[in-house]
């Protein structure tokens, strides 16, 4: 966090309200984008809103590095009465990650909507994208349990509509979006039921206040039931194995912009809430939390890593392969979270950060290649390296990071996870990470073999190089994957500070 301690991103007058402007910026931009006269204007508003949110996230991160926690009382009602935004290092890390990915995604959306969304609908699409972003940022900023539910639903409802908008290219987007809507709503409703149980037991909705009262309520049956409802509900949203059934379809058929943005942020925000509730709201020393992490989350995470890596190997559609790989990566992250040690949490959060960068780059490269040719199956992409070398090179860099090749971000975070697993003597976890890295080698190798070494299908149109407006955000993400593999002081500092903030609350 030392990088952020000296960072005064905005003038003091703005910094004082940065925590809330972070969410309000994209929210207001969404309204403006919906009213925009044409797609060009809507795109500029989307980029403006995203950049503003990132700017505010930098401001908040600076304040958090200096003060530890930024608290913002809505309407001046002091906590625990009113709704508060409470951003600690963990929240700042997620706000930075979500808004940074949003900037890259919004730049990408200048071209990616061509051919996917009708021109007349593009401004509404951008509005939905900004709403979704506001919801996700709100989840990372809020300090109120019910407010977290509202932001979860704000982002989710936007997401359902935007995934369904992929039907312009592939009608399978519609059943996929419907399936996600059912699963996502069941998840969010289970979450809010759990919050209701906690409210019944504690009489408060403020997370910090709730944590204090829950510390003495470990044996309360309502609290235990509430915990079960909350983690299962959030587990669905986070695509925790075996609750991930909605994810492959949703990622594979969504418009490319949503595939980029969702894969990097949506499940991550749900993981954020799991960490937030399990370790800072509930008493992490309570038997039901510790046993849940050791006996349910950890084995399921291990299973997800192996099973979904295997499933990724046998897919015929490129985006579906990447989607299954995402479920496996969620497994890595939850494995680190389940360890419950500072090292494990740091490793898990670092992997979360790195995975967001690489998976956004991979989906963006696939979307960029599919701009010129209607390419869905893996074999449709054969010969891409010859006709679109720059796009393909960025895909290659990000896929090396996905495999965990040394000098990439993916290697470093897997290494940290292995170190943490050795630290808690989970030898099986070390074996799982080693085996799954070999499986990743197989499925990433399969992708690269088709794209680099095979020649294009005879008679088909060659995949064209992506326009410069797409190459810029794509290479930003790809270079970040390399940069943070060599010099990880920024993400690792953030992850360490987050783990300390989460585990040191009591």
């Amino acid at each position: 966090m030392s990088f952020f301690a000296d960072l005064y991103a905005a003038p003091p007058a703005l910094l004082a309200h940065a925590a809330v402007l972070l969410v309000i910026g994209p929210l207001m931009a969404a309204a403006a984008a919906a009213l925009a006269p044409n797609a060009r204007w809507a795109w500029m508003i989307a980029v403006g809103g995203s950049v503003f949110a990132f700017w505010m996230a930098l401001g908040v991160a600076g304040e958090v590095a200096r003060q530890g926690v930024v608290t913002y009382a809505m309407g001046g009602f002091a906590p625990p009465r009113g709704i508060t935004f409470r951003i600690d290092a963990l929240g700042a890390m997620f706000a930075l990650l979500i808004s940074a990915i949003a900037v890259a995604a919004s730049l990408f959306s200048g071209h990616s909507l061509d051919g996917e969304i009708r021109p007349g609908k593009r401004s509404l699409f951008q509005a939905g994208f900004l709403l979704c972003q506001a919801g996700l940022l709100g989840m990372s900023a809020t300090g109120d349990a019910f407010n977290a539910f509202v932001f979860l639903e704000v982002s989710s409802i936007g997401t359902y509509a935007l995934i369904a908008a992929g039907s312009g290219r592939d009608r399978r987007a519609l059943p996929a979006a419907f399936n996600y809507l059912i699963m996502g709503t069941v998840g969010a409703t289970l979450f809010v039921t759990g919050v209701g149980f906690l409210y019944a037991a504690t009489g408060t909705l403020n997370m910090a206040d709730m944590a204090q009262r829950l510390a003495t309520l470990d044996d309360n049956r309502a609290v235990q039931a509430g915990f079960a409802f909350i983690v299962v509900g959030l587990g669905i949203k986070a695509a925790m194995f075996p609750l991930h059934g909605w994810l492959p379809g949703a990622y594979a058929h969504a418009p490319s912009l949503m595939a980029v943005f969702l894969s990097a942020t949506a499940t991550k925000a749900a993981i954020y809430l799991i960490v937030r509730f399990a370790y800072t709201v509930f008493d992490p020393g309570a038997a039901f939390v510790a046993h849940f992490m050791d006996w349910i989350v950890a084995p399921l995470a291990g299973t997800a890593i192996i099973v979904c890596s295997l499933q990724a190997m046998f897919q015929t559609e490129l985006r579906r392969m990447l989607a299954y790989s995402s479920v496996a990566q969620v497994g890595y992250i939850l494995l680190g979270v389940a360890m419950g040690t500072a090292a494990g949490l740091t490793g898990g959060l670092l992997h979360l950060f790195n995975h967001a960068l690489m998976k956004a780059a991979l989906f963006m490269a696939v979307g960029a290649m599919a701009l010129s040719v209607k390419a869905v199956k893996l074999t449709d992409f054969s010969g891409a390296a010859r006709s679109a070398p720059w796009t393909m090179a960025a895909f290659g860099v990000a896929s090396f990071s996905l495999m965990g090749v040394p000098l990439t971000a993916g290697f470093l975070s897997k290494w940290r996870l292995v170190e943490a697993a050795i630290g808690v003597e989970w030898w099986w976890a070390v074996a799982v990470i080693a085996v799954s890295s070999l499986l990743a080698l197989v499925y990433v190798g399969r992708m690269l073999e088709v794209m680099v070494f095979r020649s294009a299908v005879a008679g088909g149109d060659a995949i064209k190089e992506a326009p410069i407006g797409v190459l810029i955000p794509l290479w930003m993400l790809a270079m970040a994957s390399v940069w943070f593999g060599v010099d990880a002081s920024i993400p690792e500092g953030l992850a360490r500070a987050s783990a300390a903030a989460v585990l040191g609350v009591r």
Partner: protein
């Protein structure tokens, strides 16, 4: 039995929640799934409202305990309750759950609207709202595309 009758609201919550969930996952008809989902979400509303209810409590609008309405309300309170909590005057139900559920209802209605809109689009694209037939249509489309591709190569 007295436990069930004294927790009747929660029995209703459980029946609605499990019934809604069962409908959502047992049927393949997209419209019926949305109906199940709406029932499931409604059950949470009943849960929250039940949490905030105080027996004999009134809406949270200040009433002078000495006024006629105030005396009428406090006379209806359960004497056991008054003795246990030392209540003096008018008792109010907790208004916060109502506010929360108002928000949750809005969320539920928006979800329902989006879900039904997607179901309409599914009907336009596939000509059916049955999950089984949709999956079969997708399988058939993939098989056909494969055939066309291999046939093209053969020529």
């Amino acid at each position: 039995m007295s436990f069930v009758t004294s927790h009747f609201n929660y029995v209703v919550v459980i029946v609605l929640m499990m019934g809604g969930l069962f409908i959502t996952f047992s049927t393949g008809n997209l419209i019926k799934r949305m109906i199940g989902l709406a029932i499931f979400q409604t059950s949470v509303g009943v849960l929250y409202i039940s949490l905030g209810k105080v027996a004999g409590g009134t809406a949270a609008i200040t009433i002078e305990a000495t006024s006629e309405a105030g005396r009428a309300l406090s006379s209806k309170l359960d004497p056991g309750y008054v003795a246990q909590y030392g209540v003096d005057g008018v008792v109010y139900s907790n208004p916060l759950p109502h506010v929360l559920i108002l928000t949750a209802i809005v969320v539920g209605v928006s979800t329902l609207a989006v879900g039904l809109a997607i179901a309409v689009r599914v009907r336009e694209a596939y000509g059916t709202v049955e999950a089984g037939e949709i999956a079969a249509a997708d399988q058939a489309a993939i098989a056909q595309a494969d055939r066309r591709k291999s046939g093209g190569r053969g020529r």
